[in-house]
Symmetry: C2
Subunit: 349 residues, 2 copies
């Protein structure tokens, strides 16, 4: 098959890789129908994260089950499936607690697992999925292709935005500030709206993202940043601060914005991968009783919760894809995201 | 009147102070029946926290209302009242959100408020209480003196231990680790038991405190600390970690113990006043989805929740007082706590 491999900073190649086949009785092999590029893929692309050796890349995909191992019981060939961005067995204590990202058999697509197994990447023609029963979610009926982009967001960005909203304790009537206007931040707006937030302030400086933020439910948009950004948000909220702040960036600056926006006793939900040493100063948390939760989103259980609203069209998270390209032009897709010509690029076979 | 004044490190004096009188229509004057020494009072006593000028001290007291201002509507002279360790108006947005410690009219006994008013300390014969309706809780009927120690814990340590348990999301069936065996840690054990925790591991090295920990509901006691302490706790919990960890110390070491004991997706409730730069490393929280909440306990609303169980005798938090002394020997009471001859000293008129 052909699949995307990163060889180093700026060096993305679509090349020949071994055809996946069932290796363990719990495996499935999936033919990829849609995949995409994630903001986090850009770290390696930009060289912020080193790539000591070439490896497959991409962690979001939907597709059709081609083959299953003898022990797979919830899937059969021909099923339409959504894969979370992590592999999990579904049976360990952490999976039973709903934290599939801490699974004892955790795997991240395109990377080597703790047991030394290199997993396929999502930006390829096929993916072998270990622990297929625990990992993959079957869509009950074969969906229309128009739904593919929306379903693909369940692999990561919608689930991650939803994790921000759940971690931020968004509920009916909440006032919410969302820091970050990437695909995850935008999905966090959508998720907050879905959970009943009354007021949603989006921090965004880009016209196209501001428009999508409003379409997803933002009631206010604040373009300012830093001290000025905090001042504008506090003025909008009467100096009290927000019930919930959803941090979807992961930098020192975005965390400072989040801490400056949350009210005493409020909840800070964070899903931005920490980069550049963001800080949670204990004295500030202590004085203001700010609650903090979040992390790598356990997307697997969230798919069950969110899928019905995607299938019914109640939410349209796939609008975060503002560019679609053929999979074999994946290198150009990375460039488009890197140059901010696209919020998120959909990859089609 | 006579009241306790700290003049500097190791210099606690019981001396003449002006008799409190009603100064604002929202004031009450309370005759103190019982007060006590708090672990946090020792910071100034030990010189860890500087005392640039002498000031009254003590922030836990129960007593009888002697006089009220014209606007006080929920109290009258002769009422038996419990005072939280902070003064709050009960009407601002933060008080309405239940975070009375962030009240716009916040005051801490013995200290100067934001508006420049020096408040009386709790270790005295009388205390003037601003915002009396917002601050004081009336006990419906005049309690027996045997209940005084238990009622006094509602001023701080029981409410603070309960805040640790609530912040740590302790619920029916939880596995809990409590870090810290001071009066607050012991009350956190009691609070966790009251909320239905199934297993409570107390970290304690002192015989007397271990006994009280077990009496309050601890099912296991771990005397080890540091890496060894984490290893023993993890072994007790099958390597999974605790649902809830209650951090009741506030040091770098205690926070490291807490982070090493909590399970992925678990909740860390902290009430230890941060000292010595305890750290919440974002990458660890992110990877394990550890939730963190806590801070200065908003004791005022908790009194309503806990008072019935204290009055009925269902819980006996006053057992944390293992020494009682006359108020005029307060200097010796500080020394007894400083030298760890007592867990907590009760002061009687």
């Amino acid at each position: 098959m052909r699949a995307t491999v990163i060889h180093g900073a700026g060096d993305i190649r679509f090349e020949e890789r071994p055809d996946p086949r069932i290796q363990s009785p719990a495996d499935a092999v999936v033919r990829v129908l849609r995949s995409c590029v994630c903001g986090s893929d850009l770290w390696a692309y930009r060289g912020v994260q080193p790539t000591p050796a070439p490896h497959p890349i991409g962690h979001e995909f939907i597709g059709i089950v081609e083959d299953i191992g003898a022990e797979v019981s919830t899937l059969r060939a021909g099923d339409f499936v959504i894969s979370p961005f992590t592999d999990s067995d579904g049976t360990c204590a952490h999976c039973r607690n709903g934290i599939t990202t801490s699974c004892v058999n955790f795997g991240f697509w395109g990377h080597t697992t703790a047991s030394g197994e290199l997993l396929d990447g999502g930006q390829g023609e096929y993916v072998r999925v270990p622990f297929a029963d625990g990992t993959l979610v079957k869509v009950p009926e074969m969906p229309d292709a128009a739904l593919y982009p929306h379903l693909l967001t369940l692999a990561d960005v919608l689930g991650t935005g939803h994790h921000a909203a759940r971690s931020g304790d968004v509920t009916e009537g909440s006032t919410v500030v969302v820091v970050g206007d990437g695909a995850v931040g935008l999905c966090a707006i959508l998720a907050a709206k879905r959970l009943g937030a009354e007021r949603i302030i989006a921090m965004s400086r880009h016209d196209d993202r501001q428009r999508l933020a409003r379409a997803f439910g933002a009631t206010d948009v604040v373009a300012e940043r830093g001290e000025q950004g905090i001042a504008v948000v506090q003025e909008l909220l009467g100096g009290i601060g927000a019930d919930s702040v959803l941090e979807c960036v992961g930098t020192k600056e975005s965390m400072a914005q989040a801490l400056g926006s949350v009210r005493p006793g409020g909840q800070l939900g964070f899903v931005g991968v920490p980069a550049g040493a963001p800080e949670l100063p204990m004295p500030v948390l202590f004085k203001n009783n700010v609650r903090v939760a979040g992390g790598m989103a356990p997307v697997r259980p969230y798919i069950d919760e969110l899928l019905p609203d995607v299938l019914s069209g109640a939410i349209e998270p796939g609008l975060v894809f503002d560019l679609a390209m053929p999979l074999d032009q994946v290198s150009d897709a990375y460039a488009a995201m890197d140059e901010r010509r696209a919020i998120k690029v959909l990859l089609e076979p």
